[in-house]
């Protein structure tokens, strides 16, 4: 066991190395590239075994990843944003192949306009593809989640690929202290991959990804994926507890911070939740009974865990770092659906906030304001209208940019 400073990208690479991955089909994209560069370096120097192949696109990369995983080797890959969407067709396809691999997504906002900084629209676009999703808030979690993800993907009750998400820049390029576990300890937690009956072998021919005619066969196989994904919730809990026993770090499906005795909650995912945690601690200092709930698992959606965590609370602010135009925040929608399905008991007033798009900061004062809004909403019992976080000062800044753009546009014009 070594304690060292690692970026989120470095932690992801360490996770892959400790998992003794066999194969990495790769394609560069900011802010993910450091992961594949790190692995390529280790493979070149012999620090780890494995083969890394740079493909011609993320679509090809995901295809090769799925094909190799269904040939029975342990596969790792990483992408971001536009790359994840470029490979989207194959995310659905290889989930249907039940290819048990791990794919890192380093979150980055989607074009247009094109940007490099993070939000969660990229990874949530892959929400329905059949990959399971683990969302990380710290670099340590990134490393640990890669190991947990392989156990989950390869579990015979699950057999589905897993996406591990970390936020671009805020985690990918930020150094944090990370405990790198010993290889022997990891080997005991994560034994070699046994592909069982999913493998191409001359002696045992297999057809994979074949067409079906008629909705019954199609429905059957899609339902199988859903049932396996739902089962993955229990399996995840088992694995996370075993991980905690072995390594002393607990990564529950839903992280709760001062949530038990809270009357109010903030709910959000990813690294910005660490900002929310800080705000919760300051508000607690001021006497407000508030807490934070952060789902680590997004697929399967830990609805029971969340219902449990939210039951009896007065007000909940759901902060979405994503935007479904014409609908709003995706986590808010999913959480509202989960709450509507539970046992009838007092459920909190939900307030929806959109923020942190394209890497925009969410400041402490904004968390305090959100807390104020939910306290007020709880008092009236009426959920407030969804809010898009944007300050007057930001608006002034954007107006300035627009003025510059207009002026720049005019310089080339002919004038009478």
């Amino acid at each position: 066991m070594t304690r060292t400073l690692l970026t989120g990208n470095g932690a992801a690479a360490w996770g892959a190395r400790l998992a003794r991955i066999d194969y990495v089909p790769a394609f560069p994209i900011t802010p993910q590239t450091e992961i594949i560069e790190t692995l390529a370096g280790w493979i070149d120097t012999g620090a780890m075994t494995g083969r890394l192949v740079t493909m011609d696109s993320e679509h090809s990369m995901v295809t090769a990843a799925g094909a190799a995983a269904t040939t029975g080797v342990r596969v790792f890959s990483a992408t971001s944003s536009q790359g994840l969407l470029y490979g989207m067709e194959m995310l659905y396809a290889i989930a249907g192949w039940r290819a048990p691999l791990v794919l890192i997504n380093v979150s980055r906002g989607l074009a247009s306009p094109i940007t490099l900084e993070p939000d969660h629209n990229d990874v949530l676009a892959a929400r329905d593809c059949g990959f399971l999703q683990i969302h990380c808030a710290t670099c340590q979690e990134v490393l640990d989640s890669v190991l947990i993800a392989y156990r989950l993907a390869e579990d015979r009750r699950v057999r589905l690929p897993v996406l591990v998400n970390l936020d671009g820049f805020y985690l990918s390029f930020t150094r944090e202290p990370v405990v790198v576990p010993d290889q022997e300890a990891v080997d005991r937690f994560l034994p070699p991959h046994d592909p069982e009956n999913i493998a191409f072998r001359a002696e045992t021919p297999m057809s994979q990804g074949v067409a079906v005619l008629g909705g019954s066969a199609y429905s059957y196989f899609r339902y199988q994926m859903h049932l396996a994904a739902a089962k993955a919730l229990t399996v995840y809990d088992e694995i996370a507890h075993e991980f905690a026993d072995r390594f002393g770090r607990c990564h529950e499906a839903v992280e709760c911070h001062h949530a038990d005795d809270a009357e109010y909650l903030l709910v959000m995912m990813g690294s910005f939740a660490t900002k929310a945690k800080e705000a919760v601690d300051r508000l607690r200092d001021q006497g407000l009974a508030i807490g934070l709930v952060r789902p680590r698992l997004i697929r399967p959606f830990p609805a029971d865990h969340l219902r449990e965590a939210l039951a009896g609370k007065k007000g909940v602010a759901v902060i979405d770092q994503n935007l479904s135009p014409g609908q709003g925040g995706i986590l808010h929608t999913e959480l509202a659906a989960a709450l509507s399905q539970g046992r009838p008991r007092p459920m909190p007033v939900l307030a929806s906030f959109i923020g942190g798009l394209g890497g925009r900061n969410i400041g402490a004062e904004e968390f305090y304001e959100m807390a104020r809004v939910i306290v007020e909403a709880a008092a009236t019992g009426r959920p407030p209208a969804p809010r898009l976080l944007f300050s007057d000062e930001e608006l002034r800044e954007v107006r300035k940019l627009q003025a510059v753009a207009r002026a720049a546009g005019r310089t080339g014009e002919e004038r009478p």
Binding site: D22, Y23, P25, R51, V53, M55, D56, S57, H59, S60, M61, T63, A64, A65, G66, A67, A68, A69, T70, T71, G72, V73, E89, M90, A93, F200, R201, A202, E203, P205, M206, S207, Q208, G209, V210, A211, V212, L213, A217
Partner: protein, 309 residues
């Protein structure tokens, strides 16, 4: 290299099962039959979206070996994943040599000439050890024969119904593939089984990317009687429309140079997709242009390969 000299040297037993949903007289299926008999069952066919995606419909497959359907754009990338994984398993002693497979990409022209071209280019760059069989029926056949970039000039398709047919020209995929300097590229025709078998045997003896384009007369898309498939395939070669050739070690060699080429109109007139060139009136200008392009091609061949035997 090849021990195949005539029809008697071809495999006597056939591996690909019948009863597939391919159309009667499918020229692509005929090519696949012949190729599969030569390659054998220790193969995994990595397929892209196209007519032959319907070969394996759950729970049936005509293959004795393995099959992987990928997507329209990325069959060569699927081949990369399988090949790399098998190599890794071999090198680590996790599978027996007897469990290894030949990796064969199987796509139509829509994928090969268009959507899958980047993935194929990448596979060639990476010197992937695989065989690529493109069944070229000169259009998006599975969706009802819309024009693709493999469609010949003047052909009527579902999306080129005008009196002059398809305005574009068939893309020279052979040259594009050969420009990557892979181990082997060849054109074949199932109507010329000895030539086809010789080329597949040559390809089998090589390592690296080996790519084959099989002209695949398509009764449904080209509009002719299914009984005519072989005759149309022969005419394509005898009229000089489909040159049989191979690329190897930086050089292109024609495996068959028709001595007295028959007029292209003979080939065109047998297919409904070219009827508008003859009726209601003969479009001499267009026919002359098509013939002139074929003549120019062979004039170039005579110049480049004239001295060769």
């Amino acid at each position: 290299m090849s021990g195949i000299k005539n029809m008697r040297d071809l495999p006597a037993s056939h591996l690909l099962a019948g009863g597939t949903p391919m159309c009667a007289g499918c020229g692509g299926l005929e090519a696949l039959h012949q190729v599969y008999d030569l390659l054998g069952e220790k193969t995994v066919f990595v397929n892209a979206a196209g007519c032959m995606t319907l070969l394996a419909v759950y729970p049936f497959t005509p293959f004795r070996g393995s099959w992987l359907y990928t997507a329209m754009a990325s069959a060569p990338a699927g081949a990369q994943g399988v090949r790399d994984a098998l190599d890794i398993l071999r090198s680590k002693g996790r599978i027996e040599p007897a469990d290894d497979l030949q990796v064969v990409v199987l796509t139509g022209d829509g994928s090969a000439y268009g959507m899958g071209l980047a993935a194929t280019s990448g596979a060639m760059d990476r010197r992937l050890d695989f065989l690529y069989l493109c069944y070229d029926n000169e259009g998006y056949g599975n969706t009802g024969q819309q024009y693709s970039s493999a469609t010949p000039h003047g052909a009527r398709t579902a999306t080129s119904q005008g009196s002059r047919g398809y305005p574009g020209y068939k893309k020279d995929l052979f040259a594009i593939w050969a420009a990557h300097r892979p181990a082997y590229v060849a054109t074949v025709s199932a109507a010329h089984p000895v030539d086809l078998a010789t080329k597949i045997e040559t390809a089998r003896g090589l390592q690296g990317p080996r790519l084959i384009i099989a002209l695949s007369p398509c009764p449904t898309g080209w509009d002719f009687d299914p009984a005519e498939t072989v005759a149309i395939g022969k005419l394509a070669v005898e009229c000089g429309v489909w040159p049989l050739k191979e690329y190897r070690d930086g050089r292109v060699r024609h495996s068959r140079i028709p001595k007295a080429r028959r007029p292209v109109a003979e080939y065109l007139a047998r297919q409904g997709r070219f009827h508008h060139l003859f009726k209601p009136r003969r479009q001499e200008g267009l026919l002359t242009e098509i013939q002139a392009r074929v003549d120019a091609y062979w004039a170039g061949v005579a110049k480049n390969e004239g001295q060769e035997g």
